[in-house]
Amino acid sequence: MSTQPLLQIKGLTKHFPLKKNLFGRGDVVRAVDQIDFDVLPGETLGVVGESGCGKSTTARLLMQLINPTAGEVIFDGALVGGRDLPLKEFRRQVQMVFQDSYASLNPRLTIEDSIAFGPQVHGVSKQESLARAHDLLERVGLAPARFAARYTHELSGGQRQRVNIARALALQPRVVILDEAVSALDKSVEAQVLNLLLDLKDAFNLTYVFISHDLNVVRYISDRVMVMYLGQVVEIGAADALFDNPAHPYTRALLSSIPAMDPEHRTEKAAISGDPPNPINPPSGCRFHTRCPVAQAICAQRAPVLGSPHSAHPVSCLIYEPESGYQAEVKSEVTA
């Protein structure tokens, strides 16, 4: 790989402890377990998976909103929280937009004050930060003369999300993490915000980590897509390659669950049955083996390894591991 990744994530792990039981043994929720991936400068990395797969926890770990149990985040070559890159400096460079546009804005601040707050904390004068806020409101399509002095409850959901985006950009970050940022919006408004995000990315040379459960939206906006299942990464690849030729059985099941949009060829059979298992006691071996349509006995014993994050299309599945003990006859049937 020629370009150095902007963000390198190595062995990142987060276990949330549960209440201890009678015998003093506490279970843990393995929300994120040993994940490795890179975010390249200027790209949009989409992250998909079902609830409980750890995609939001990953976002929070990236932002250092919660402390990892293990693992490290390296930003532009420097360890986050280390001597070369203190947390405050890192947070200026990486900003986040959340799903709930209402809960993530302070109801007592006007929207110009909300946007100007961050820069002021980071030492920009009040006057300059307000000027920057007006500038950004203009950029996100909210005329400052009409909107700057409003409070959050006076805005619609789409307008509030525009404010959140403006606020994230107020510190001139290089990376923006969008955690289900358009999921709560109606379709017509969602399209407006997606277009805005693409415009801003070009204008400010941004890198996005775009987390969503909406597979169509992820495909539309992402350059590369990472698929997560039960706290682990199962597949990473270029958006079109991954959607056209999904390699992991879970990715295939996920993609075939998208409603068909064709009344003459409705979906006849669900690709997999049941709900995702509980991340407190994840299945042994490959975590997907309990729902996998092509699982073999070996899958319950041996955990597959995701290929190097630098390769083009790493997959974590025994089918693709030579000498893993997975019976190859079945393999040819599957890939055919």
């Binding site: 079902e50 017509s188 169509n216 669950s257 998208i258 409603p259 409705r266």
Partner: protein, 329 residues
């Protein structure tokens, strides 16, 4: 022409609880035949859920003014007495909601809630009702059903809870199922399972279904007809295939085009911008003149701002409320 099983005529719903009355539904006409699935789609605030809830009269009667008529079978729902309404709910028409954790009672096991519902409407013993609850759990394919009957709602996963709520709704063999975004809160792989289950049960029991959703994809999977709502009115209605392939109302057209689904082809290595609908839906507490979509519509002319368009029939079963249908052919 057979008489429709459900017939909603000129339904108006106004909420009077706030500072200004909100006219949430403004003259909805909808007919659903026996064994037919009609999807009501629209964005938040379009009145789709309000319309659905009116069929069971779930709105607080002291803060709601409802006019028009809703007939289900032989019954005139808006004229039912309190006792008759309680008999009607669950027995003739039942509802499944978006969030089963809020719809199910947290302090009773799911099995007890189904047994209670059956015994409220039918004169059967507890043992017989329990047996039927077990059959229902098997029917909606809940794993280890015997054990799950004793489970409380919080002990089940999201998909299982939704199956349990479907079992509860079908407990008294209703003829009409009202579904309010039943799969919106579910994950993709679970959503498709629940949609397929609903379709299967609908066929097996010959249910009439009104299915409210904002997800066109989900509607296409289950519905025979789709009605698109905007600002409290049905602006276009037709068979699923017609509505998808030959939509005529500018709002339906824009809605279908604004989906990321259609913009996957790359131009010069980049994806094209999505087509959007500028602006936002109108405030329903303010008086409306003319077509509610006119301020956002690229085809609107002066007449659109003054006249409320009537429903125009395009082909049999396909109609749209628009003055500019000449421009969308």
């Amino acid at each position: 022409m057979t008489t429709p099983y459900v017939s909603i005529e000129n339904l108006n719903v106004t909420f009077t609880g706030g500072a200004r009355p909100v006219k949430a539904v403004n003259g909805v006409d909808l007919r659903v035949n026996r064994s037919e699935v009609v999807a009501l789609i629209g964005e938040s605030g379009s009145g789709k859920s309000v319309t659905l809830r009116s069929v069971l009269r779930l709105h607080n009667e002291r803060r709601t003014i409802m006019t028009g008529s809703i007939r289900v079978g032989e019954q005139d729902v808006l004229k039912l007495s309190a006792g008759a309404l309680a008999d009607f709910r669950g027995k003739t028409a039942a509802m499944i909601f978006q969030e089963p954790l809020l719809a199910l009672d947290p302090v009773y096991s799911v099995g007890a809630q189904i047994v209670e519902s059956i015994r409220r409407h039918e004169n059967v013993t507890h043992a017989d009702a329990h047996k039927r609850a077990l059959e229902l759990f098997e029917r909606v394919r809940i794993p280890s059903p015997e054990r799950r009957l004793d489970a409380y709602p919080h002990e089940m996963s999201g998909g299982m809870r939704q199956r349990a709520m479907i079992a509860l709704a079908l407990a008294c063999k209703p003829q009409l199922l009202l579904a309010d975004e039943p799969t919106t809160a579910l994950d993709a792989t679970v959503q498709i399972q629940v949609l397929l289950l609903l379709r299967e049960l609908q066929r097996e029991f010959g249910l009439s279904v009104i299915f409210v959703t904002h997800d066109i994809g989900a509607a296409v999977e289950v519905a025979d007809r789709i009605a698109v709502m905007y600002a409290g009115r049905i602006v276009e209605e037709g068979p699923v295939a017609t509505l998808l392939r030959a939509p005529r109302h500018p709002y339906t057209l824009a809605l279908l085009r604004s989906r990321a689904h259609g913009a996957m082809e790359k131009v010069d290595g980049k994806r094209p911008q999505l087509e959007t609908i500028s602006g936002a839906p109108p405030d329903l507490s303010l008086p409306q003149t003319g077509c509610a979509f006119a301020p956002r519509c690229t085809l609107a002319n002066d007449a659109c701002k003054l006249t409320q368009p009537e429903a125009n029939t395009i082909t049999a079963g396909h109609s749209a409320r628009c003055l500019r249908l000449d421009a969308t052919a």
